[in-house]
Point group: C2
Chain length 450, copies 2
């Protein structure tokens, strides 16, 4: 049986009734986490630009845009996917290196709103979407990630099956949905050299392409039956691995969404271990950055490939600078959304500490990546003493979890600009989502979510 066929059978077979209660609860936490990120990102210029393009192109009023108003489900997915990724606080899965929320949830939410699906159905679709894209991402890791933005490429499949599930597609249609998803999958890392806005285009576009794939399949549009494992398919074209068959091992017996990690700091996940360690040191010892002569961060290679940047020139680039993030944590004692600001970018204290930060690869940590995302931080003080701490798991990983309440607090912090009644409405809706008969009710009468 082809991989697509196995995935399609799994997706059509999945029912809300079979989901353990902790999976339902955890999925709602993912949705709330996503929503906070989307609120916080909606007013950012790149998202506004995308919303402007969507408004220009127009569309049926099917789904709500986080930027305000409604448009087609594809445009809603495009804009909301972008909105939920830009503040770099959306969820992440280590083994597949995918931010599934920012692709799967906007696609599922748009289709569920349009088709007036129940909260149960929305949860089902999101669980299915996470499962499929995480499994695909794991099979093509690590080589795929060198060139390709897994969130965009693998995420397309997750968005596609979530949309397909909500549209009630049958097994064969879902095979075609996966085929059309895979042949649209795109997103190169090259933009990171310029800190360009493609990072937001990628998840939005993946969510949009996933919906398009499902809508086409619904109309009878056919695609490759072996898009994943075929000789000229996704895995062979876009990775050095040839592990497509591994993708479906144990399928149906796992809920990979439970492996999700949440981000507490507003920067690239590859900087979180160092930030955590600095914050722990500050909590445990009375440390002043003025007394720190040298900061040594050892970690795995990928962290440096992406975040070794001793001189970030924008707030966005600062979130992808291990040196900056480490220094920021040391100077400010936190690394939240408001800590990364234009004022903080060239803050003399942070810049001074940055110049003292050294980053290096540790071969043992590197060998264990991506099972663990490790780092050691060693501080050397002006008096010659040192302090050293190590972590295997940044906070928010399943092995070092945050609570649902932590995510509620994070949501409140991210949605602070919204009217109080909106925030309460959202919180209540998400908390009892499985009882909501119609997802369209999440979008209060007469207003968008912002």
């Amino acid at each position: 049986m082809s991989v697509s066929k196995e995935f399609a059978r799994y997706v059509t077979g999945l029912t809300f009734a079979q989901l353990p209660s902790e999976v339902v609860a955890f999925t709602k936490t993912c949705i709330l986490d996503w929503l906070g990120s989307a609120y916080a990102g909606a007013k950012k210029p790149p998202v506004q630009m995308m919303a402007q393009v969507a408004a220009e192109l127009g569309g049926a009023e099917q789904a709500t845009l986080m930027t305000g108003g409604r448009s087609s489900v594809t445009h809603a997915a495009l804009v909301n996917g972008a909105a939920s990724h830009i503040v770099e606080l959306d969820d992440i899965h280590k083994a597949s290196i995918i931010h599934a929320g920012t692709v799967v949830i906007p696609a599922a939410l748009a289709v569920a709103q349009w088709q007036q699906k129940s909260g149960e159905e929305l949860i089902e679709a999101i669980v299915a979407g996470y499962e499929v894209c995480y499994r695909i991402g794991e099979a093509v890791s690590p080589s795929h990630y060198y060139f390709w933005h897994n969130t965009a490429t693998c995420g397309t499949f997750g968005a596609a099956v979530a949309a397909g599930k909500l549209l009630g597609l049958d097994e064969e249609q879902l095979v075609h949905t996966l085929g059309s998803a895979g042949t649209q999958a795109a997103g190169l890392w090259e933009f990171i050299e310029d800190g360009a806005m493609s990072k937001q285009l990628h998840p939005g576009k993946a969510a949009m392409n996933g919906i398009l794939a499902a809508l086409l399949a619904q109309k009878g549009f056919t695609a490759a039956s072996k898009i994943l494992e075929g000789n000229r398919g996704f895995v062979r074209a876009m990775s050095q691995e040839a592990n497509a068959e591994q993708m479906t091992q144990g399928l149906g017996s796992t809920y990979k969404i439970m492996e999700n990690s949440f981000k507490i700091h507003a920067s690239c996940r590859h900087t979180h271990h160092a930030i955590d360690l600095i914050l722990e040191m500050i909590a445990q010892h009375a440390i002043s950055w003025r007394e720190v002569e040298r900061v040594r961060v050892q970690t795995y290679q990928v962290a440096l490939t992406i975040t070794d940047n001793p001189n970030p020139a924008s707030v966005y680039a600062a979130k992808f600078s291990l040196q900056y993030c480490t220094a920021l944590a040391l100077v400010k004692g936190s690394a939240g959304l408001r800590d990364f600001s234009e004022e903080a970018l060239y803050d003399p204290a942070i810049r001074k500490v940055m110049s003292r930060v050294e980053v290096a690869v540790d071969p043992i940590m590197d060998a264990r990546y991506p099972e663990t995302w490790e780092a050691t931080v060693e501080l050397t003080f002006t008096d010659g003493t040192t302090l050293k701490k190590h972590t295997e798991y940044p906070k928010g990983d399943p092995e070092n979890p945050v609570s649902h309440d932590d995510i509620v607090q994070k949501f409140l912090a991210l949605s602070v600009d919204l009217p109080q009644d909106s925030i309460l409405h959202d919180l209540q809706m998400v908390e009892r989502l499985e009882q909501v008969p119609d997802v369209a009710l999440l979008f209060a009468q007469g207003r968008g979510w912002v």
Copy 2:
């Protein structure tokens, strides 16, 4: 200077005034050739399915769909790109293996109609689009083509610059346009294993993505500055070649659109040499297929890799069978769109002649491919006599050109279902396109093109 910057400078600098008259005339031929294919394809089921999705999603009434009505420029490009590729009669560039017309023209036409650009501006944009995507395709050939559908991947860049040119983007915006185009570029060959409809999704989606890239850049959206040659860019991620710098050699001194080939027969290009030779023999000698005992076709390996199929089971497969196409030409004396039909698929005479067709590789021809696409056809008659002919270039290649009148005839054949006045209107409009002040006038008042 980055490759994108060089392309951007070329595109902004290109003016209609500098185009030699033969380039203007040839571009109009390309447009007419495209239009015929689009008419012929508009009613095909895969195109109708895409139009159905576009209608469902809705959009501002900016541009005309070949399937009828109007929608957003992105939806028009999506549907019209698909429509113009499906009958396998659209133009082709040998060296880059790109059908540029089916991606660049629908993107340019939609934006030109929306923005009420002149015929001169439309021609300019199309020349620029062909130039850029042909150059990119050449630099990543041949390796890219194994996994990737060049028309879709490289075509995205062509559509993007054509749209960007018509939107009046400046050099920097065009660099971002190319960046956003490249990071959306997709389209895997895997679908060919199933003969699936992705072949139509690819050009439509490339045209749509190209426009999206340009619209985003217009709003200030940034992207990778070195999307082509960068370490994690298009060339390194998607080909074995690392020839990005070659892309811009001689840029500005060539008009690569002039290297375009046109298809006269409604089948795979790799069958055209044999069809040409059979038709020439019929024209020069009084040949009846009943007297032909044996047909021997010698050619290059790639032709056989793709078209050695002694028993095609669908009309679409028949177009990719060298044996079928050779027999069809011998029995019917032509190989046009209407010759390939359900009735003809199992026509006893064609099947009888097919059983007498032998195909083989000629090492000398194989060594000269792809500079020449050669074949020899030898007929052996029941009376023992033989007839033999050889060609280096299928008809429609620049080295064996068709005339503008041939393309007019082809257009008339492809648009035969349309009302006479529509056909005449289109012919007149395209013939004097450089005098048309507003491309929207091409779309006669109150009706779509079909």
